[in-house]
Symmetry: C2
Subunit: 235 residues, 2 copies
DNA sequence: ATTGTTTCTATTTTCGAAATTTATTGCAAA
DNA sequence: TTTGCAATAAATTTCGAAAATAGAAACAAT
């Protein structure tokens, strides 16, 4: 059995653990469409195990809100709505602001150093993306670096809990953002400038400016939020 | 098979669902001591099912951070430390403040009405507790009303996600608070006054005052946070 | 006494099939 | 055509036992 490194950094030997990670990855990268049923019986072929271990992996994911589980009727992928998207975005911003504020307060050289490094890596790929005609090859890499950058922002907050929850909400946000906005997040020079502004104010330890920069960066299309109504349904 | 109502409000038929709820309840009420192993093989007798369904219930709980799961070495209860307690407290306050701010902003009569009702119920039992010599009979009831009161505070925030996460963190906080502070939360007249102050400022829609009141209420022993070391034991 | 190896026991993980429940289809009645 | 019911199919839940792994105990060697 091959060893894999899971979300929390530990190594897993079990096939349920492997299935968990592969499922989680697939969910984040939109392998299944919204609201689709996830049947252990079918999935077992894709992952070459039994339906039992698939069920176990799905239950884990349900506990972390990455899949929906309804007793007696199984599992399904999330069904993003405009509401759930906005709720996730708000929560993400709340957690990121808090982590950022604390990180700046602590004011640690290591943190600054890691932040600059993460930003540099992100910037490098973003520069390439500016000149590319087809971005599809960059999506995965950019997304990884973007996640690392935003993790680096709050890395110095001294709360493992906050970091862990932020990471989870960030991933859930991304799933919903892709479904709702129809894009994976990179908006060209605008995005790059926003990242730059965040780093600059962070290094200056200007908490207010940095918070504002993060807020603006995540809350794009702000004007339309209250204009474009949610695709109205439901009684 | 008896029907039970689970955490999210839905009804469950499955024995795994029942086990999940009973385990969750037991964990919140300190049925097992900190760091204790939770072995499906033993637990199955207590809940009169098989180890398989116990395992399933435990996996769900692990996903929600109510138990610790390490692959190949099973499940165990949480191991509260002073750090984890403080982290949970901070996160609880962050979420509660946010929910409260939004609730006040929305300014809804129904919300005020429900809040007053929840506070009234809490006050009723607290009055009785003031005159009681033995509080042990009141713990469960008070805890339920306190949870409902704090849920009522943020009930008008319009974010199901925020409410759900707050509830989860609140419960986790309580587990750690009991372990760390050695008490279940009621501090006599002080607590009652704090609750009153929270309601009063909420009804006056004085967001700042209300936030401050919540902060003070939850962050008790603030001065000692950096002074009083954790009851040092453990190797 | 300490270290390292082997043996044994307890626990966890995995599997497959039976039991239960839900969903679908086909058919008859209004 | 629609509605209600029965039969069928599909999926979920539960069970029990086999396989794999970890932890403890006993033992030997330095």
């Amino acid at each position: 059995m091959s060893k894999h490194t899971n979300f929390s950094g530990a190594t897993t030997h079990t096939s349920a653990g492997v299935a968990y990670e592969r499922l989680r990855d697939g969910l984040i990268w939109g392998r299944w469409k919204a609201g689709e049923k996830l049947k252990p019986q079918h999935l077992k072929d894709l992952f070459s195990t039994t339906s039992g271990v698939l069920r176990e992996a799905l239950i884990r994911l349900a506990g972390e809100s990455f899949v929906i589980f309804e007793e007696q009727r199984g599992f399904s992928t999330l069904n993003p709505t405009r509401e759930s998207f906005l709720e996730l975005r708000s929560l993400r911003i709340l957690l990121e602001k808090e982590g950022l504020t604390l990180s700046i307060q602590q004011g640690n050289l290591d943190w600054e150093s890691n932040l600059v490094a993460a930003h540099g890596q992100l910037q490098l790929i973003e520069r390439k993306m500016l000149n590319a005609t087809d971005l599809s090859d960059f999506i995965r890499t950019w997304s990884r670096y973007d996640a690392q950058f935003h993790a680096a922002l709050i890395a110095n907050c001294r709360s493992d809990l906050l970091k862990k929850e932020h990471r989870r909400i960030y991933d859930l946000y991304r799933i919903h953002a892709i479904a709702e906005l129809g894009t994976f997040g990179f908006r060209g020079k605008t995005t790059m400038d926003e990242h730059q502004a965040i780093v600059d104010s962070a290094l200056e330890r200007d908490t207010d400016a940095c918070i504002k920069a993060v807020d603006q960066h995540v809350t794009i299309y702000r004007d339309q939020d209250n204009v474009k109504p949610p695709t109205s349904q439901s009684g």
